[in-house]
């Protein structure tokens, strides 16, 4: 079969006009809705729609491509201005103000002729246009006499929120928020204002009649902060440190401790890797070639975040680290290496150029993806639509897109494309190279000796073999053989061909002289070993400019790289600078090794004034803290994205972030120190009482079901990696090693992908193979890196449930967790729970009981059976000391026991678990010569004594062929001391076989094998400790009752099915699994 390369798709299609979908889907899709929304939003309140606010945005989506965007106007019709629409084209006026029916625009839309190609203007949008015309086709202001070519940027577009210059809004004053000064005091628990963030939020809440929730308790907070900052459950030490800290700044100190943890970089690094589209493979079709050095970028990210590298520097290094790293790139210092590794950001996108049939197409696709990563992560805009035509919703022209592309093209030039394997810079040091050269020399010497020896041995073998040929042939064969191949005559060749067996070669030497061949083999092994001493060469993958002149970037008509149009200069998006003040690139330093474009753009981006970058970055940080961004669509702040719930707060954060030296950790602090962050996530409480109506409150769920206003802290499910890491941590297995090559994954038949060799490192280190997403992670919404991931979803479904219920890996972690509980549960943990457990399940031992009582030989019944109260670890007995004051010397152990006095026979009781027929075997032994021996009886609670024996210094077979039992019947193995209990130690190992009707399998018990102490003596402690380990809190009484019943039932069932495992461990593992699958484990308050 032919496996066609991934990217054989035609270029035009493959580049795909991403946003055409929006247009085609206009018949009711949400995008059209949003467009209308933005139009209506901008409309002057109460007035009819005007051209500028409502109509032009619609025309831009459906009409302006052909009727305004390009110099060529279809049908001569230009719809960019109202007066031009009225003026019309070849077919006449398109709009007749005040006359809907006479307006050709409306007609063409109604009958479906326009827009062409099956696209449709949604009914609502059409109604808006009609309403506008009916009302006289109003304009907002006088229209210009002339227009420059293209769509330009209208004042309305410029007025869109995310393009506004960044300014630091003043947080609302307290008296503005609470109205009367006294009111705040009325709700001291809920309306705490700790930081400016609280003021912004509370102002909004108050405006809706809502208020904050009270502060969460410390346990909830430490868990919240630990998962948020480090992605791991807090350890007991971390918990205790916070719970026991009396200082006023205990919370702030706790936050700092987690910020200082190396796990912080792993957690927040993962967030950044999402938007960077991090992957350990190229995404080149089925091969999906691994990227063995991609991890250096991942490690750079983790290191940088842990070191709190200022975020501007962090971004600049990723965009232009190669332009910052001093040259030459040999003997790389740690600093150089960091800067070069950082540029991995620019080639995280899928790159199928390695095996592509159409390299240029594949390279252009990769560049498109890089631009998508850059724009969604740093600009918070999806500029991809402008690849083919002016953006239909945002004021981003196609020229702007290619200007931005020109910033990157010197490094990402499809005509001089560097395939993934061509981007590597060696990390060898001079010493490495020297060592390698020395070894190479040695290898070469060995190799030469080997060659000589081989030649000699082959010649010897030839000579020896030659003796097999007749004398006359020997000389000519010798001549032919030793003539170098190139110089052989036709006669030579013919001769050798006719006598193939004369032609000894190194490859078949073994057939002539095995010893010689073995000798050579050993020499070869020595050479290989020597070669292996060479230090393996390590590389970092670098994005940089190949040099040799700058490419000219062209606009691609309709996004088709084969249809190049005008050349464009590098530049930022026009809309990112104030009107008429476009930011210009400085001319490149002709002596420099690079164009400097990326560095210049990166610096401008991170100057602290860029309206998009600042907002996009802080919004993303906020999103990770609160589960949703201030703008929910973190990758798109534009027209199609969401609107900020708290625009002023967003701006304040953006300005503060830069003002605080771009310290991400400082940004975390300012967010996490707020009361908003410290709120409880618990039950909804009625909101702020409005003055005058007493205690009547407003249910926040009615007002703000989505909690967009932050009246509580959101309950959040663990993200995929955090879930896996937390399971490993709780199971006591997590390998906390930092950094290094990706841990390989493997796929089975059904496509289940797991880490190889049960790797227990943090998930961020698992190989991100685009074609083989780790099943557990994918099930919990880890992104599959087609390009990048701007925002994760949190889905719920049976795939997840089945994974947690039945997946082998999950079950194994549960078992590890159970073993950990056995090993680590402190002896003194939860004594109260242990006692409660014992009370609740007094007869926890299901099938066997150990007790004492009296055997009445006349009635054949056992009377006064009482369980023996004391277990020594080896035996059940009456008390700590023997003989016990009440029960005497009675004891039972695995082998047998000792009776007490006549009223206290030693009784081993078996409870039948089911109806059936039992048979009993076994041998009773009494060894002592002294005394009067023992009397034994087997007594059925249903039938009375079925067998009796007396043994002294001897033994008896205690066999009963058949006893009918019903479930719950007791069969007692009674031993008393006859008249005296002196020297009455006995051994008795009865076995029971039970046949139950309808079940062909027989079940068996053996008193010695089954013997055990009080079942579950440690279980309650371990179960209670499981709560501590999984949930980081003590178990409560209700839960304890639940667990006791569960464990009892589960152990009972394991026994009933004759399970061969350690029942307590198996039951504990089941408990652990349920904890790991439970809400409380999966969600963080």
């Amino acid at each position: 079969m032919v496996r066609t390369a991934l990217l054989a798709a035609g270029g035009r299609l493959a580049l795909g006009c991403a946003c055409a979908a929006a247009v085609v889907g206009g018949g009711g899709g949400e995008i059209a809705g949003n467009c209308r929304a933005s139009a209506a939003e901008a409309a002057p309140s109460g007035g009819t729609p005007t051209f500028e606010t409502a109509i032009r945005p619609l025309l831009k989506v459906y009409c302006l491509d052909c009727h305004g965007a390009e110099e060529h106007l279809e049908g001569g019709l230009d719809l960019r201005l109202r007066r031009l629409a009225v003026q019309g084209g070849v077919s006449g006026p398109a709009v007749t103000p005040g006359d809907v029916e006479a307006s050709l625009l409306v007609h063409r839309i109604r009958v479906g002729e326009m827009p062409p190609a099956g696209k449709k203007v949604p009914a609502e949008s059409r109604a808006l246009i009609e309403a506008w015309i009916a009302a006289g086709a109003r304009v907002e202001r006088e229209e210009p006499a002339s227009l420059p070519a293209g769509l330009g940027i209208t004042p309305e577009e410029r007025a869109f929120w995310c393009f506004q210059p960044l300014a630091r809004p003043e947080p609302p004053a307290l008296d503005r928020i609470v109205g009367s000064p006294g009111e705040l005091a009325e709700h001291p628990d809920a309306d705490v204002v700790r930081t400016p963030i609280d003021r912004f939020l509370l102002a909004r809440l108050r405006s809706q009649g809502l208020r904050f929730s009270p502060e969460a308790d410390r346990l909830a907070l430490v868990r919240r902060v630990a998962f948020d900052l480090c992605g791991l459950p807090p350890t007991p030490v971390e918990i205790e440190a916070y719970l026991n800290d009396p200082s006023e700044l205990a919370y702030e100190k706790m936050v700092d401790r987690f910020l200082d943890s190396p796990a912080y970089g792993e957690r927040w690094g993962r967030h950044w890797l999402d938007v960077a589209g991090y992957a350990d493979s190229d995404g080149d079709g089925n091969a999906d070639t691994p990227r063995p050095y991609a991890y250096k970028y991942r490690d750079y990210v983790i290191r940088a975040l842990n070191a709190d590298v200022p975020f501007d520097q962090f971004v600049i290094e990723q965009l232009a680290g190669d332009e910052l790293a001093s040259r030459p790139w040999e003997e790389l210092s740690a600093e150089q290496l960091d800067k070069l590794a950082a540029t991995g950001f620019l080639h995280m996108a899928a790159d199928a150029t390695a095996g592509a049939a159409d390299l240029e197409e594949a390279a252009n696709r990769a560049v498109g993806d890089v631009l998508k990563v850059v724009s969604t992560s740093l600009l918070g805009l999806s500029v991809g639509c402008a690849q083919c035509h002016d953006h239909k919703y945002d004021p981003i022209s196609q020229v702007d897109y290619y200007r931005l592309r020109a910033v990157f093209e010197p490094a990402l030039d499809p005509s001089r494309w560097r395939r993934p394997q061509e981007r590597l810079v060696s990390l060898s040091t001079a010493a490495d190279r020297q060592q390698a050269a020395a070894i190479d020399a040695e290898v070469q010497a060995l190799q030469q000796a080997y060659q000589e020896k081989q030649t000699r041995l082959v010649a010897e073998a030839f000579e020896q073999n030659l003796q097999r040929f007749e004398d006359a042939l020997q000389a000519p064969l010798r001549e032919a053989f030793f003539t170098p191949e190139a110089a052989r005559t036709a006669d030579h060749n013919d001769l050798l061909l006719r006598h193939p067996s004369a032609n000894v070669s190194p490859g078949v030497l073994y057939q002539y002289n095995q010893a010689a061949a073995d000798d050579l083999k050993q020499d070869q092994a020595r050479i290989d070993a020597k070669r292996a001493e060479k230090p393996p060469e390590d590389f970092v993958s670098v994005t940089t400019e190949p040099g040799g002149g700058l490419p000219t970037t062209h606009l691609f008509y309709r996004g088709d790289h084969r249809d190049r149009r005008q050349a464009v200069e590098p530049g930022d998006l026009t809309i990112a600078a104030p009107d008429g003040a476009r930011w210009e690139f400085a001319a490149p330093d002709p002596a420099g090794p690079t164009s400097g474009r990326r560095l210049a753009w990166a610096r401008q981006l991170m100057s602290g004034t860029h309206p998009l970058a600042g907002r996009a970055l802080v919004n993303r940080v906020w999103m990770h803290h609160f589960g949703r961004g201030i703008v929910e669509t973190a990758g798109d702040l534009g027209m199609l994205g969401g609107r900020p719930t708290h625009p002023e707060l967003l701006d304040w954060l953006a300005v503060e972030f830069a003002a605080q030296g771009w310290s991400l950790k400082q940004l975390h602090r300012s967010v996490m120190h707020s009361h908003a962050y410290r709120q409880s996530s618990g039950e909804a409480r009625p909101g702020a009482a409005r003055s005058g109506d007493g205690a009547a409150g407003i249910d926040p769920r009615q007002v703000d079901a989505l909690n967009a206003l932050y009246w509580k802290f959101p309950l959040r499910r663990l993200e995929a990696e955090t879930l896996r890491d937390a399971m490993l941590a709780v199971a006591g297995r997590l390998d906390r090693t930092l950094f290094g090559p990706a841990a390989a994954v493997q796929e089975d038949f059904a496509g289940q992908v797991d880490a190889q060799a049960d790797c227990v490192r943090r998930s961020v280190y698992l190989q991100v193979r685009r074609s083989r997403p780790v099943s557990l992670l994918a099930a919990f919404d880890a992104p599959v890196m087609a390009v990048n991931c701007e925002r994760r979803v949190a889905s719920v479904g049976p795939v997840q449930s089945l994974m947690l219920m039945n997946n082998d890996w999950v079950l194994k972690q549960a078992e590890h967790f159970a073993r950990r509980l056995r090993a680590e549960t402190p002896n003194d943990y939860a004594p109260r729970q242990a006692a409660a457990f014992a009370r609740r399940v007094p007869s926890f031992a299901a099938d066997w009981r150990y007790g004492s009582g009296r055997f009445d030989a006349q009635s054949g019944r056992v009377e006064d059976f009482r369980p023996l109260p004391r277990f020594t670890g080896e035996a059940w007995q009456g008390g700590a000391e023997l003989p016990d004051p009440q029960l005497g010397g009675v004891l039972l152990n695995a082998q047998g026991g000792h009776p007490g006095d006549a009223a206290h026979a030693a009784i081993r009781r078996w409870i039948a678990p089911a109806d059936g027929v039992a048979s009993i075997g076994g041998t009773l032994v009494h060894a002592a010569e002294q005394g009067d021996g023992v009397r034994a009886a087997i007594v059925s609670s249903r039938q009375g004594a079925v067998g009796q024996w007396t043994v002294r210094a001897g033994q008896a077979a205690t066999e009963i062929a058949r006893i009918d039992v019903e479930a719950g019947d007791a069969v007692d193995f009674v031993v008393d001391g006859r008249s005296t209990a002196e020297s009455d130690a006995f051994a008795w190992n009865p076995t029971i076989r039970l046949q139950t009707p309808g079940d062909s399998a027989e079940r068996a018990w053996n008193a010695t094998a089954d013997f055990r102490g009080p079942l579950g003596a440690e279980l309650p402690r371990q179960a209670a400790y499981a709560w501590q380990a999984a949930y980081q809190r003590p178990i409560d009484d209700g839960e304890l009752a639940l667990v006791c019943d569960f464990l009892a039932a589960q152990i009972g069932q394991l026994r009933a099915q004759g399970d061969a495992s350690d029942h307590e461990l198996a039951a504990l593992a089941s408990l652990c699994q349920q904890l790991l699958s439970s809400h409380e484990f999966l969600y963080v308050e």
């Binding site: 991934l6 087609a786 889905s795 219920m805 039945n806």
Partner: protein
Amino acid sequence: MSNERVATGDESTGGWATGPSATGPSATGGRTTGPVSRREFLARHAGGVGAFALASLLERDRLLAAPAKPGENLPLDLRARQPDRPARATAMISLFMHGGPSHVDLLDPKPELSRLSGRDYGDQIVFSFVNRASKKLFGSPYRFRRHGQSGAEVSELLPHFAKIVDDVAIVRSMHTGHNGHEVSIRYFHGGVAGVTGRPTMGSWIAYALGSAADNLPAYMVLADPDGHPVDGVWNWSSGFMPPLYQGTVLRPQEPRIFNLDPPPRLQGTLQRQNLALLDALNRRYAQQHAGEAELEARIASYELAAAMQTAAKEALDLRQEPEYIRRLYGLDRDETRSYGERCLLARRLVERGVRFVQLFLGGQPWDNHSSLRTALPAICRRTDQPAAALVADLKQRGLLDTTIVHWGGEIGRLPVCEGELNADAGRDHNGQGFSIWLAGGGVRPGVTYGATDEVGHRAVTDVVTPNDFQATVLHLLGIDHTALAYYSNGRAQRIVDGRPARVVQQLCG
């Protein structure tokens, strides 16, 4: 590729200047053309309720601008949902014949090709196996006959299919424009040629309609014991949608569904105890966090998972099928048993509410680069009877009315031979023209639609692309492919990703 495409009537629309001149401003259905008062306008155009209509329209617009709802998705669950349009079908079974069944030997007779057999083809051909490329036309070695009332022409290789032609629509004008397997297979599944990482058609259907069964997945894939098709698990990926919508693989041997059951020692009572404890813990937690819908949804998803365990096993138990059914699907013969079992399973799954079932084959048996005379009959013998049995069985149960059955590959094969024109001759890939068939679920029965050129190289009449196919299938399921959207990566994603796609009305009964 879109530029290679033959334009269809649906797409050829006039521009503003060149539109049909007969339709002037006055041709608006006999309505008055004079000045219309604002009041009249609103009465007429905004639903007849006057100014309030517009006001509420604008109000809705304002509400749509509410920050909480940028591009909202359907609920991310599998609850059964009504489609947005009247539906003919409620489920679909796709017998995916990947590898490229040779249409000119199966469903698209070409007398002209037979006549010219052995001569050089005059036109351009794109070859995949350039080293074995030949321009010698290769007339089909198989005879075609007309069958049924519809008189559909079917090759002697498909005797069972020949009996159901009156229930089937044959499409002879499929076109992907790409000859490679992967590029075309991705086009069929994900909507974009050559691109992986997109949700497959089953995902879109599951997303739109949920599962009609409350105890089975919405989207199931029946894997072949010989392995997966090219691209492996990508063929049922949910791409950028949550894994909720990915195909659940039914393996050919135990465990049939991964993670469906715990290991044997934990099944039964033990697992019931486990789930009871989990449920109790989760309900306590949900009570403490009243109003958190996700917690309730997760509790429900555990219940669904547990129900699936029983339901799936019951659905997979073919022993329940009577002997005549087993024979119908060919379970009594070695050659047909494997595929027959899967076809029968597909019926049982759809019967129980699974929305989309797809069958794959292992080892590319339709990829007849050589040995067309032996390999093609062999794979026909394996699949013909079971596939036809599926349609017949669905029909006798009354399920065919609501179940679309699709048979077809991602490409067809070239009219020229590959290698020498001898007994071992084969055919190279051809995405320019090939055939598929559809049955049931509102598909117009007994029609043959579209045509390739005289030798079967290119689709020339009524060309149908995979996007048209998707639009049509979704249409039958009551889904408007232009409306169904999943919001991801900052934009509304749709199955055909903005490419031209038409509902082929002629295929809809």
